[in-house]
């Protein structure tokens, strides 16, 4: 990723146009989703992968459990307030290029549940590329969403994708439940570190839409 970027940034625009087509074609044809099935939409996602509606003919061959090996995160299901920091963390752990599909009414806008417990739309936490309505959406709708995402990828330019700056994503700690370190010796150390560095700014990472080529 870093090598491509340095090479492309030094080349003039006219030379990267043909490269865009090839690179985007490669990226769109092998979109590997990260397993982020939360609730009922996850079962419809499993239906989309299974034999009748086969998602792997569109390139989504395997669903990788580790976000480090995944391209697209399909947020399928309702995101509760306890789960929101985990969602953000998984999104941060995915390397560029990455996309997000918000599947279902609950992920798009909170769905049927307009109450204290559900985040009203996952785009309050991660930037979303494709929204799929439905409760749950039919498997054919998810397949259509993948196809639309593929069309969207073809229109991108290679220079759009910058890696998230490493120290930034490590520093952004969310108040509330920290899943991995709670109750362990590691938490004690991080508490001391937090107290020493006084990290108390709001938790936002500039999304890739805000970091254009010029900045």
């Amino acid at each position: 990723m870093g090598l491509e970027n340095t090479v492309f940034e030094s080349l003039p625009d006219i030379l990267t146009v043909r490269l865009d087509a090839v690179v985007n074609w490669a990226r769109k044809s092998s979109l590997w989703p990260a397993t982020f099935g939360l609730a009922c939409c996850a079962i419809e996602m499993m239906n989309t992968v299974s034999a009748r509606n086969d998602l792997s003919r569109f390139g989504a061959e395997t669903f990788r459990a580790s976000p480090r090996q995944a391209d697209v995160m399909i947020v399928s299901g309702r995101v509760s307030r306890k789960m929101a920091p985990v969602l953000r963390r998984i999104y941060d752990q995915m390397p560029e290029p990455k996309w997000v599909i918000s599947m279902g009414a609950c992920a798009t806008s909170g769905g049927v549940f307009d109450n204290y417990a559900i985040v009203q739309g996952v785009d309050k936490i991660v930037p979303v590329d494709i929204y799929v309505p439905g409760c749950p959406p039919r498997p054919e709708m998810l397949v259509h969403a993948i196809m639309m995402l593929q069309q969207k990828i073809m229109k991108e330019s290679v220079k759009d994708r910058q890696d998230t700056f490493e120290p930034e994503s490590r520093e952004s700690k969310v108040p509330g439940t920290l899943p991995v370190t709670e109750g362990t010796a590691l938490e004690r150390e991080t508490e001391i570190e937090v107290a020493q560095h006084q990290i108390s700014r709001p938790y936002t990472i500039p999304s890739r839409h805000e970091k254009r080529r010029s900045s």
Partner: protein, 406 residues
């Protein structure tokens, strides 16, 4: 949790005795084998699990609070999303609790269709269990076979109600609509093909020595402990207790059907597996009997203030129109009282505690989710097992996080 810090050895202890250290591992909430957003804090001694603390609530939706703000009829839609593999079961429990408060009598045809669709839903739920359980243990092709057969059931339920996974088919007083034309023929076709599918699963899974050695002797929960932990459903029947609410506290006419209750005494993952496989066959038998009993008749109870009238009735008669308007706009008042309605869902005893104070919205609705109680017994089952067995045990408990976290 504060006592946990003392148990973690300091770095010097680790270096002196490298084989005698314990590690705390957080399994989940994003994990392919936890069947949803479940987090397990595992205290490990090498591969052996010393202790586990489940951490739930990552899918908490506040459904019980939502019920108090919605009229009784509107709440049916929310029950679909609870145990999303068995939505008709949730619908049935909620609707029957409301009908018990209202003391409605349900016509015969509606009861038969309720039994038929609920048993089809039970088969679908067990197919998902089998597919995901086998996928976790390593047998990937079973997953595709199971989902292929489940698609046929989903098509049937979609034909009847319009929704594959969120049907909301039952209404207080009967059903939403009658079965469409051709449903019985398609259902019969599915039931004709099903025994062959079951025997395929038996060939693929039950006779497999790898499967047997991974599931026998794992996750043992003895009979008295199982009752004390409140386990119900196939988990309890796998521990030797002969209890099934369809036979012991019957509802919707289940006492008139002829089916057996499979009980195993091994108390391990293998026993629960065998119980569920046989339950699929028993559900198939009940579906056959229900199909034969289908006779034309009304599908909604005779209570004009509670049940919506037929559409053309509403268009022609003034009183039907007024009733329709009042039911939809203001809701019907349910007499004050409280009721606990347990049913045998595919995962165990699904109980609805409904309390009404005389208004159109309930005062308290509480769902006793079987997965919630089954999961609370996980720490006792997992002590002393290896990590790989934890995955097998979670699969055998058949948990659905929507029901646990509500």
């Amino acid at each position: 949790m504060s006592t946990a810090l003392k148990d973690i050895p300091s770095q010097f202890e680790v270096m002196d005795k490298p084989l005698e250290s314990q590690m705390t591992l957080s399994m989940g909430p994003q994990h392919p084998s936890t069947h949803g957003v479940l987090r397990l804090d595992l205290r490990l001694d090498g591969e052996l699990v010393v202790k586990t603390i489940p951490d739930i609530g990552y899918l908490h939706t506040g459904m019980e609070k939502l019920f108090e703000y919605k009229k009784y009829q509107q709440g049916i839609v929310i029950t679909d999303r609870m145990d999303y593999l068995n939505p008709l079961g949730n619908n049935l429990a909620y609707v029957m609790a409301a009908e018990k408060l209202l003391q409605l009598e349900i016509p015969q045809r509606a009861q038969v269709i309720r039994v038929l669709t609920c048993e089809l839903q039970r088969i679908a739920s067990h197919l998902v269990w089998l597919g995901t359980h086998a996928l976790d243990i390593g047998a990937m092709s079973v997953f595709f076979y199971c989902f292929r057969h489940r698609e046929k059931i989903l098509n049937l339920i979609e034909a009847a109600s319009g929704g594959r996974m969120t049907p909301s088919y039952f209404r207080i007083g009967g059903l939403m609509m009658d079965l469409p034309a051709g449903f019985e023929r398609r259902c019969k076709q599915f039931l004709d093909d099903f025994p062959e599918a079951l025997s395929t699963f038996e060939t693929l899974v039950t006779g497999n020595t790898i499967w047997q050695s991974r599931t026998q002797g794992v996750g043992v929960m003895e009979r008295d402990e199982a009752i004390s932990w409140g386990l119900t459903g196939p988990c309890l029947r796998g521990s030797g207790v002969d209890l099934d609410l369809r036979r012991d506290n019957p509802y919707t006419g289940y006492e008139t059907y002829d089916f057996e209750i499979p009980v195993e005494t091994d108390c391990d993952v293998w026993a629960r597996f065998k119980v569920r496989m046989r339950e699929m066959y028993e559900s198939y038998k009940i579906c056959r009997q229900a199909l034969e009993r289908l006779k034309p008749g009304p599908i909604k109870a005779d209570a004009p203030k509670v049940v919506l009238p037929d559409r053309d009735d509403m268009r022609k008669h003034m009183d039907s129109l007024i009733h329709h308007f009042l039911i939809v706009a203001e809701g019907f008042n349910v007499p004050p009282g409280e009721v606990y309605m347990p049913i045998e869902a595919s995962k165990g005893e699904l109980g609805v505690y409904m309390k009404s104070n005389g208004g159109p919205k309930p005062e308290r609705v509480h769902f006793r989710g079987p997965s919630f109680v089954n999961l609370s017994a996980l720490p006792a089952m997992v002590e002393g097992e290896m990590i790989a067995d934890v995955v097998a045990i979670i699969g055998s408990l058949d948990i659905v996080l929507g029901e646990i976290d509500r």
